[in-house]
Amino acid sequence: MKLSVQMVVVLTSVGLLSGSFLATVGILTKERVELNKQREVEAAIIKVVPGTESSTKLYEAKDFKVYGGKNQDGTLIGYGILVSGIGFQDKITLMLGTDISLTKTTRLEIIEQKETPGLGAKIEDEDVFLKFWEGRDCSQAISLRKPAVKTAEELAASEVNTITGATISSESVLKIVNNSVEKLRQLIKEGQIQDGEQDVH
């Protein structure tokens, strides 16, 4: 066989075989991976909306889902917004908890991120980043405090801390949060958020 032909044939068949093998593996593991993600989401709602006993899916679109957290009596006590947006290098998936009137954040959880380890990946860090997201005023757009401060008391009501050395990742999270709060407010106004459509638990 001519060398050039052999090169093409070998590379193509290696690629094809790998591709089909991976497709099989992908199909076999897909269900379990999805199940793990769903479990993680359920655990996250309980975390971001304190006092949640059960949760309901209220709205679903691509990369934007809204869950409702309910207390023991079944009263809606807050929203958990599961949303994905572009980070520094890849998608960031996070869940933001807000109160029922959409004026205060309760908690932020990062579900998935591939930011730079040691810098942007600190968006998962409780003490550096996440704790500053509790109880922020989200009736207006939240802004970033630069340079970073040490305690939450130094921040204005609608401010959150920046991660030193990871401004882009901090800004990405901020943008995702502000957009999703705005989107949810719009949806509520349009009457598209209805309670009790689908029980998660």
């Binding site: 060398l3 052999q6 090169m7 070998v10 590379l11 290696v14 690629g15 790998s18 093998f21 991976l22 593996v25 992908g26 593991t29 379990r32 991976v33 793990n36 993680e40 998935e112 591939k114 380890p117 040691g118 990946a121």
Partner: protein, 203 residues
């Protein structure tokens, strides 16, 4: 072709040609994920899986691959097994998969794996390649285990998540940070070289 005995083929990976301590290959995951024993172990096993299966496949098809496209073919084969390992971890060990994050996909560019294909599997029989891969993997896993043990015990006072140090012990936070990885690896390399020198001078 290698002229070693089968036993030597295996044991060379443990000490004489240990991928981390003697060849200084694969240092990125070695430094990055050894803060906790469980992560070091998972990374070691995932890398072993990729190395063993890539070596088998490469040694089987070594005669079919024209040398001009060998690196590309090896990388595709390696990437396939890395993706399998990544999916497996995501499906069955979601917590570990989340902790290891981008370092599992990064096994593709781990020099140990491509290095063994280029230096060994592409020139030796399937059997020998398998033994070589097993030896190198064991060397890698053991080194990661030692390194992560040092770092977890000193850095958090725990072993595999269980408290092993008394309440008098203040964890050395630096050991679980990147700087601690360099310190621990540097000292480990120094000890390895020292032992090597001592044993050589005795002969």
């Amino acid at each position: 072709m290698s002229t070693r005995s089968i036993g030597q083929e295996f044991t060379k990976g443990l000490w004489n040609e240990n991928p981390v301590l003697r060849q200084l290959l694969g240092l990125c995951p070695t430094l990055a994920v050894t803060g906790w024993v469980i992560n070091g172990l998972a990374m070691g096993l995932a890398t072993s899986f990729v190395l063993i299966f890539s070596s088998i496949v490469v040694s089987i098809i070594k005669k079919l691959i024209p040398s001009q496209v060998r690196i590309a073919s090896y990388i595709v084969i390696i990437a396939t097994f890395v993706t399998v390992a990544d999916r497996f971890l995501a499906a069955y060990f979601p917590d570990i998969s989340k902790d290891l994050g981008p370092y599992v996909p990064l096994i593709v560019v781990n020099c140990i794996i491509l290095g063994r294909q280029e230096a060994f599997s592409s020139k030796n029989s399937v059997g020998r390649s398998l033994i070589d891969a097993l030896g190198m993997s064991s060397g890698f896993v053991l080194t990661l285990l030692v390194l992560s043990s040092i770092r977890e015990i000193l850095g958090s006072g725990t072993y595999l998540g269980h408290q092993v140090m008394g309440s008098w012990f203040t964890p050395w936070i630096i050991m679980i940070l990147p700087a601690g990885a360099f310190l621990a690896l540097g000292i480990l390399l120094g000890i390895a070289l020292h032992i090597e020198k001592k044993t050589k001078s005795r002969i």
